[in-house]
């Protein structure tokens, strides 16, 4: 019932699936490039690109109440230390997705994550 052509087709489809799979494993896809924008008092202070092979660094930023330390770990960002009375910004922890932000009100410091596309294009959920 199953002809020789069928067997060849099955092998071909399996190989094609394997090739696409390994292709994605090796190259990934560059569609989800994100950046972190550091703004002080509404003005852009620094823009750093994130990603799987992004930077791993600590930035010390002079602000109104003293200094803030921003830690960037590949594709996520957090406020590690901040000279401000309540430290809500530190307690927010890591952010990594476009549209998320950490705000330190006393220091007027904003850490914003943006994608290569505007955040309003992001879809929350899709039904099938």
């Amino acid at each position: 019932m199953i002809t020789k052509g069928d067997k060849l087709l099955i092998i071909f489809v399996l190989m094609l699936a394997f090739i696409i799979f390994t292709g994605f494993q090796i190259y990934g896809f560059t569609d989800d490039k994100t950046y972190v924008l550091i703004e002080i008092d509404g003005k852009l202070y620094q823009k750093i690109s994130l990603g799987e092979n992004g930077p791993n660094l600590r930035l010390t930023i002079p602000v109104a109440h003293g200094k803030s330390i921003v830690e960037i770990n590949r594709n996520k960002v957090r406020m590690q230390y901040s000279d401000c009375p309540d430290r809500d910004c530190v307690r927010q922890g890591w952010i990594s997705r476009p549209g998320q932000m950490i705000v330190c009100l006393p220091n007027k410091l904003v850490l914003k994550i943006e994608g290569s596309k505007p955040a309003k294009d992001e879809v929350d959920a899709v039904s099938f």
Partner: protein, 171 residues
Amino acid sequence: MQKHSKMSFLSLLVAFGIIIHIIEDMLPVPFPIPGAKLGLANIISLLTIVFYGLKEGLIVCVLRCIIAALLAGSLSSLLYSLSGAILSTMVMAFTYHHFKDTFSLVGISILGAVTHNFVQVTMASIVLSTFGLYVYLPYLMVIGLCTGMFTGLTANFAKQNLFTFFTKTNF
């Protein structure tokens, strides 16, 4: 008389397709991948192609998708199932008419299933305007291979039984 019997048989096929489509939507899918499904309604498209041809196959699958979406579905599911069904029917009809000796119904069904998966992922990528969805394609292809084999075997048995029925009753 021949025309009327053809029309009634085509509407029967559409009705079968709708029921299979709706019941299949109710079955839980054991894979956590969007778009993975059994594709049982493909049996009907395949049988229509075998008995009549491309034009009738397209009529049956388009009617089946629209009515099933109206009865138990949503607009987005109509978009995905219709695009996939039309293209896979075309591919299956082409293969059936030109490579009938190379591939059996199993192979043709596998081709249809993989085409359906590819079109669905492409459609979803266009709708969501992101090409990251192609990551699902290899998984969907392997699942489509298995379900395509299954539906192809089923269509093969149905075809044999229907042929003997037709010759017995001079349909």
